[in-house]
């Protein structure tokens, strides 16, 4: 299984990098771009064929290390 994991700051938590990029996009001629959020993208191969088991493991990885759930939220996709 391959897992693709996205981690971003939770909604409601100020994302200063996102804000800076938003301002830059405005200067670049895209004043209609809003709510820019910057995050991390990680992918990994998991030696596990069972989707349910793989999902349990990826979720555990996110909760324990890949995201800091005090400030961040995560989502993931699993593919064979």
């Amino acid at each position: 299984m391959k897992a693709k994991i996205h981690v971003t700051l939770k909604q409601g938590i100020l994302d200063p990098q996102g804000k800076a990029i938003e301002h830059a996009l405005g200067s670049l001629g895209f004043p209609n771009a809003a709510n820019v959020r910057v995050g991390k993208y990680m992918e990994l191969d998991l030696d596990e064929k069972d989707r349910v088991k793989a999902e349990t493991q990826v979720k555990s990885m996110c909760e324990k290390l890949l995201a800091n759930t005090i400030i961040e939220e995560y989502r993931y996709e699993l593919s064979a």
């Binding site: 200063p16 991390k40 290390l65 005090i70 400030i71």
Partner: protein
């Protein structure tokens, strides 16, 4: 007093801590490599500033898994004094020894300058040599010092006098402008509920001797020593 200074790959304030404690304050210092599984024989432990594991993933996120951190947890649970400075504070947060998390500075800049912090709680093992409300001038040097926690946890910190230091103006006013990094409630340092673990972003080890033109940081180390010696002289305050 035998004080351990933990050395992670990427720590860069470890020798400053060693110098202050050993050469300035005359204590025994043991440098503790991050692979060390035991802290036996130590009276206090300092997690120094720096960029442990290159700040990969998040500040402090990888250091939390170093073998020495299991020992630090046990040491803290047993009531031992643990001080985390800057990256050390970030590690304590990631390890769950202190509540909350660090966000990138509001300005996005790496901030390296003097700050003023107010001693909000002078009855801790780390501040007993300070006066309540005393203003200390101590430099910060960080990119991720924007303290955040949920409203319930913040209320708990405030109610239990766990906010030990707040950024303030030179005359002690806690204003939004005096906060360099966007920290909630101007928080510069907090302690755990039990009171034996403290994390702060400013660097007291960088201003603890007259030769450097500022000795304000010394009080924090002297407090730890006084606490350990059981000589918290309330009359001196």
């Amino acid at each position: 007093m035998n004080i351990g200074v933990v050395v992670f790959p990427g720590s860069n304030c470890d020798h400053d801590c060693q110098h202050v404690l050993k050469d300035v304050l005359g204590q025994v210092v043991t440098m503790v490599w991050h692979k060390e599984p035991s802290l036996a024989g130590l009276d206090a432990v300092i997690l120094p500033g720096g960029f442990s594991y290159g700040d990969y993933l998040r500040t402090g996120a990888i250091a939390r898994f170093a073998p020495v951190m299991q020992a630090v947890k046990q040491f803290a649970l047993g009531g031992g004094l643990v001080l985390g400075i800057c990256n050390g504070f970030q590690i304590l947060l990631e390890a769950g020894l202190l509540p909350g998390a660090m966000l990138r500075n509001r300005s996005l800049h790496f901030i390296c300058r003097e700050t003023y912090i107010k001693v909000e709680n002078a009855a801790t093992p780390f501040t007993n040599r300070c006066k309540p409300g005393q203003v200390l001038k101590i430099p910060v040097a960080h990119a991720d010092g924007n303290y955040y926690t949920d409203p319930v946890t913040l209320a708990g910190l405030q109610a239990n006098a766990q906010v030990v230091f707040r950024y303030c103006t030179p005359d002690g006013k806690v204003t939004p402008e005096a906060c360099p990094n966007g920290s909630l409630d101007n928080i510069a340092g907090i302690r755990n509920a039990e009171g034996n673990v403290l994390g702060l972003m400013p660097h007291p080890e960088r201003c603890a001797e007259a030769m450097l033109g500022n000795e304000d940081g010394r009080a924090i180390f002297q407090s730890m020593i006084a606490s350990w010696e059981g000589k918290t002289l309330t009359g001196v305050r």
